[in-house]
């Protein structure tokens, strides 16, 4: 039996209307259900365009020329409206401020289901569920203006989740967050995938957290996929990543330098835990210990 993919994109090309440049230029990408995928690329690589494609905003709300095949959970995005796709794919944009437009947190999270004429009782349940999930229970009557950046981001996520999508797409979600907020956000998204089976796709410029939390990393450049694979496969070459404008995980830089300086070494770690283990156990570690 063929398992339906969350996303199956083949040879996608997209040009914004009025532009000569192809924002997506032959992109092919597969995402399995329940996968946590981080799409990494420099500014202008096409990550945002990809995100907008996944819930149909491209081509329905944003005009341009679209070529190729994009199927989300088996449906061609060109054949369903954004409203129809919204129950399958939720999207969270970069700036939390501009996507919260209601006067209270509760209204914001209820807005989506209300538009779909979901019965009141069910809306109530969904709102409580979504707020609880993002850790904002009890904030129902707060105005969005009074929230911190991190809190706004969580409300935006809750507002997408209340539509009960199967996939959550986030375009540079940590943009407005400080480092602690970043880590918390990624941890939350990982939980979402692990506990609730949510397919998560996010666009990023910095590989550090992506390395820790993703199932799959996709490297994008010039509107197409350069490579895709596990974090370790994709992030172990810091020079290649830097050349693509992606900030490599610092540990991969350490590994790469060690490999360069130690003939025969083959370190390949991308997280601090892995690095500590590998270095402590290696000859280098032992040698250093001995010489002290």
């Amino acid at each position: 039996m063929i398992q339906m993919r969350a996303l199956a994109a083949q040879n996608v090309r997209f040009k914004y209307s009025g532009s000569e440049h192809w924002a997506l230029d032959g992109l092919s990408l597969d995402v399995e259900k329940g996968e946590f995928v981080s799409v990494l690329g420099c500014n202008g690589a096409g990550k945002s365009t990809l995100c907008l494609l996944l819930n149909g905003l491209i081509p329905h709300a944003i005009h341009g020329e679209l070529q190729g095949n994009v199927e989300v959970f088996g449906t061609d995005v060109t054949k369903k409206t954004v409203a129809e796709l919204s129950t399958q794919v939720g999207i969270v944009f970069q700036e939390p401020e501009s996507q919260l437009f209601c006067m209270s947190v509760e209204e914001e999270v209820a807005f989506g289901p209300e538009n779909l004429a979901v019965p009141r009782e069910e809306i109530r349940e969904r709102v409580e569920w979504a707020l609880d999930l993002v850790g904002m229970s009890g904030y129902n009557d707060r105005s969005p203006f009074s929230l911190s950046g991190g809190q706004k981001q969580r409300v935006a996520i809750a507002a997408a989740l209340s539509m009960r999508p199967e996939m959550l797409v986030l375009d540079e979600p940590a943009y407005a967050l400080d480092p602690v907020g970043r880590t918390e956000l990624y941890q939350f998204l990982r939980e979402l995938k692990v506990r609730h089976g949510m397919t998560v796709l996010l666009a990023e410029r910095d590989a550090e957290e992506a390395a820790l939390f993703s199932d799959k990393i996709v490297l994008m450049k010039d509107g197409r996929q350069v490579a895709a694979g596990t974090p370790r496969e994709m992030l172990h070459d810091p020079d290649k990543l830097r050349a693509m404008g992606i900030v490599p995980p610092q540990m991969s830089e350490v590994a790469s330098l060690l490999n360069a300086r130690l003939p025969g070494a083959n370190f390949s770690f991308i997280t601090v835990d892995e690095a500590e283990r590998a270095i402590s156990q290696s000859v280098v570690g032992r040698k250093v210990r001995r010489s002290r």
Partner: protein
Amino acid sequence: MTGFIDLYTEADTFLHRMDPRVKIVAVLLVTILGLVLSSLYSLLVLLAFIFVMLFLARATFSRTVFALKFVIRFMVLIILLWPIFDPSGTPVLASLGPVKITEPAIWRGVTSAARVGCLATVWYILMFTTSQRDLVRALVKLGLRFDFGLALAISLRFLPTLSATIDSIKDAQRARGLELDKGGLLKRARNYVAVLVPTIVSALRTADTLSLALQSRAYGARADRTYLRDLRMRSADIAALVLLVAIFVVPTIAKYLFAAPL
């Protein structure tokens, strides 16, 4: 800037709890009544009634005076200037050339001022006891199209954000040597371009993302959308409505049908 629109203070008074639709109707009726009544005494009675409402809404005197400071100044201006521009009636108390200060004119001035006071205060009570959320919801329930209601709600929601953005832009430009409070009218207008352009750009960018966000949440998908929280009239609200209509209808009929001196 937003202080004008967001006078709402949370409290648990019967006015706060009243259905916002009833409050809107009440304010409209009182406004019309204020324009219908022409005798000073009846207006003072109305004003007294409104003050009682103010007290019941737990609005403090100092806050009310602060919020209505322009209105109060305007009222004083009316009282002072009316006799100067209205020379009709007797007895004449003083005169200087074409200007005649007459006693009836003074009373007419005071009456006009009282009218302004009534209208302003009753609108203040509405804003003080009703959150923006409820106001918009009430308008939609009373017949305003949902999209208009949403547009109104979104504008109100973004007012403080816009205000903060403008402050930030002003700071950024001041740090480049822009002095917004110096120079003649023309120079100041040109200086404001440095604040206006980034503000408009910021607003347009926000509007762009907003429109995508709205669509992503299925806005406009169906004509029959549901509402999580709905307004429901309680018996207290209906009673209040009946009372208000009576308060409005009785003097109006008395005045126009029975020529009562109101």
